[in-house]
Symmetry: C2
Subunit: 428 residues, 2 copies
């Protein structure tokens, strides 16, 4: 680094998700040197990951080069690196292949799928958090139809044609809806022995209603929309076991084993292992999902120059439950921390972080969505339009991904899915 850059405070941000990226953008052109460290060279637009998993979008459509997004800020540099440890008293970040000295550290390494003590299930039930997960789910779904087409045995064929999605939060609901459309519309005329429309798509949820964070009236609407797409919704149903060939569920104390070759896991997330590193080095608390409990200004208690934000943080407004792991929370926290760091340089401070809840959206297939906007609730095509508008606006603001919008318009009218590749890893 040049001597000139040493003169300014060095802000190190770990993680290029929504929280880290918006913090970096907020510090662009401020009188600081920013280093954004990520294991990957791209920001992933996670809310649309399910569209890659079901072949509507290509990986490149929802991934933006971090260097390209941040290239215009001359005071921000991007490093490909892997955080492994932290020495807060020496203000040192330890990477797998070196160290960085910081004045302020912002950690936002996010979450990973949570199998609630059954880590072995991850082998059979793929989670949906990375671009590789999405390619793997796409591979498994498309391969299942291919296998079914070649399978002479009726029972075996039925197992290949059974898709189980565990967990009916937004990710599970959106994945189930897209899978319903894929089977019933896109693939309809493409097979000779099987009828893809006979695919059995099960969406399992442990609690009373799907989309538990939405008002009940919207959960009911979403359930109806999923049923129209051929998805069978089963609530109050828990997974007790799963293998490569079947899943065992329990509902009202009755167990049932369902033969199924494709099981997808959207049941929950837990903090990235970095949370434990931070807890170990600073004595910070972790909540039940392993997230770092932060103070009102998103710092780790006792460490005013160590911020934790986004999905990795457990931030609870006064007398309230911690904020959910949502993109808008992460974006607002990134903005807040960037602004707080700038204010501090001017000798000022900011009031505690407060989340402005603008609403909640989930989409079910091509025409339906459910939306809560403040006190307003609505569903159907209007909600879908709103969903499309919000997501497109973000993608365009972000990386000028105008073509994603055109691709959507195209596939909306043609029902085509242009990215239906079964790819393999080179290691195969």
């Amino acid at each position: 680094m040049s001597t000139e850059s040493r003169a300014q405070p060095h802000i190190v941000i770990v993680g290029g998700g929504f929280a880290g990226l918006y913090a970096a953008k907020s510090l662009g052109r401020a009188p600081v040197q920013v280093t954004l460290v990520d294991r990957r060279n791209f920001h992933l637009f996670q809310p649309l990951l399910y569209q890659v998993a079901t072949g509507s979008l290509a990986s490149g459509d929802i991934a933006s080069s971090l260097r390209a997004v941040l290239g215009r800020y001359k005071n921000v540099r991007v490093l490909l690196g892997d955080m492994v440890d932290l020495k807060p008293n020496e203000r040192k970040l330890v990477l797998s292949d070196g160290e960085l000295i910081y004045d302020t550290l912002v950690v936002a390494t996010g979450v990973q799928p949570h199998y609630f003590g059954h880590d072995a299930w991850s082998q059979s039930a793929t989670g949906l958090k990375t671009i590789e997960d999405a390619a793997e789910i796409r591979r498994r779904i498309l391969l299942a139809f291919e296998r079914a087409e070649r399978e002479p045995d009726l029972e075996q064929r039925r197992a290949w044609m059974t898709f189980v999605i565990v967990g009916a939060g937004s990710a599970g609901v959106e994945l189930a809806g897209a899978l319903g459309e894929l089977a019933h519309e896109t693939l309809r005329h493409e097979f000779r022995r099987i009828d893809p429309a006979e695919a059995r798509i099960l969406l399992l949820e442990a609690v009373e209603h799907i989309l538990p964070t939405f008002p009940v009236s919207l959960s009911v609407r979403a359930e109806a929309a999923l049923t129209r797409l051929g998805v069978t919704v089963r609530t109050r149903t828990r997974v007790t076991d799963l293998t490569e060939h079947s899943i065992t569920v329990s509902c009202n104390d009755r167990e049932e084993q369902i033969p199924a070759r494709t099981i997808l896991w959207t049941a929950g997330v837990r903090a990235s292992p970095i949370a434990q590193v931070i807890a170990h080095r600073t004595g910070a608390g972790l909540d039940r999902l392993g997230r770092v409990v932060v103070g009102p200004d998103l710092t780790v208690p006792g460490y005013p120059n160590l911020f934790v934000l986004g999905d990795l943080a457990s931030f609870a407004p006064q007398h309230a439950v911690p904020l959910p792991a949502l993109a808008p929370v992460a974006i607002q926290q990134g903005h807040y921390v960037g602004r707080l760091i700038r204010e501090r340089l001017a000798g000022k401070t900011l009031p505690p972080f407060a989340y402005r809840d603008k609403g909640n959206l989930a989409v079910i297939g091509r025409n339906a969505a459910v939306a809560r906007l403040g006190r307003f609730e609505f569903g159907g095509f209007v909600a879908w339009l709103l969903w499309a508008f919000v997501h497109i606006a973000y993608l365009i603001e972000f990386d000028h991904k105008v073509l994603v919008m055109l691709r959507w318009i195209w596939s909306y009218f043609t029902l085509r899915r242009g990215a239906r590749l079964i790819t393999v890893s080179r290691a195969d």
Copy 2:
């Protein structure tokens, strides 16, 4: 299979590349049952693979689901399968997991990179034939710049910034041009320690001129265009050794070792191993690239119901050298075989296959190309427009990939590359 389908002749096609796919299309709606067998579920538009390797296009842009492309032909079914053997006297095709009885067999399994006896080189010098190859090359190129940015040692940094492309046929020239643009334009402002424009891009060719199948005047023009993009062209240069860290070349009997961390291999191809199976089972001859020598009607001598076509076939017009491994050759052969099979059903036959050579095109970056159209030769922007038109027309005819065209127009004017992902295999 139903009894109805048994009544009609069963045409089995192995390989969904240009040759196999066009044969299948040509037999769509003919009074035959067609089964297209491929290991992958998609057709790959190989002429644009280098654009995926350099981040301009996403994988999904140049891959089309075989089921989607052939779905409209009710008499064509697609099977995911892997040919391992052949019993021509029983008219039996052996797959890794089953057998198929055919009346006529069409084999078009294409080629793979050829390391001329140095198979170990494939570990360090990635070839460019599959979609996974392209993702791997993209990963290696982008990672090299990332490593260079973090490398304090000047000599090491220089090795990370040195890119060697072995073989200056169309693929090598196009890859070198795109890499030149990536380094000099797209990445220009995105790094802080290194200047991507200082990347050293070497294009090596063993013979006198690059693009050996083009007229010399066009080779010279292409070389000038590459030089303008910052590519160093070295002809009459042979590779004598290569490792992960360097490549050793020989030119005019002088050896030189060049430290380079990224070596890409476009020096040659040889037939898929299926050629040896066919030779073993039928006594057919193989040419020096391992391709099956076929008769004037593209059948294996002595086996009138066994066709070999596309890159896998060695077809020599009377008193001439075998046709090159080009997409137009494969497409015309696919059409020919489809038509011949239809004519035979009507008790007729066709004159021998004749290749109509419409010309040859290679593109160098955003504005330049060289083209030979019959007796006409030209270069520059007009050739580039022709190249873009030809490729876009194919992609659209093929799979309505209108958006690829829009993506091109977009990146032509903005110099953006939207698909710059470093992805890893799940096995990592």
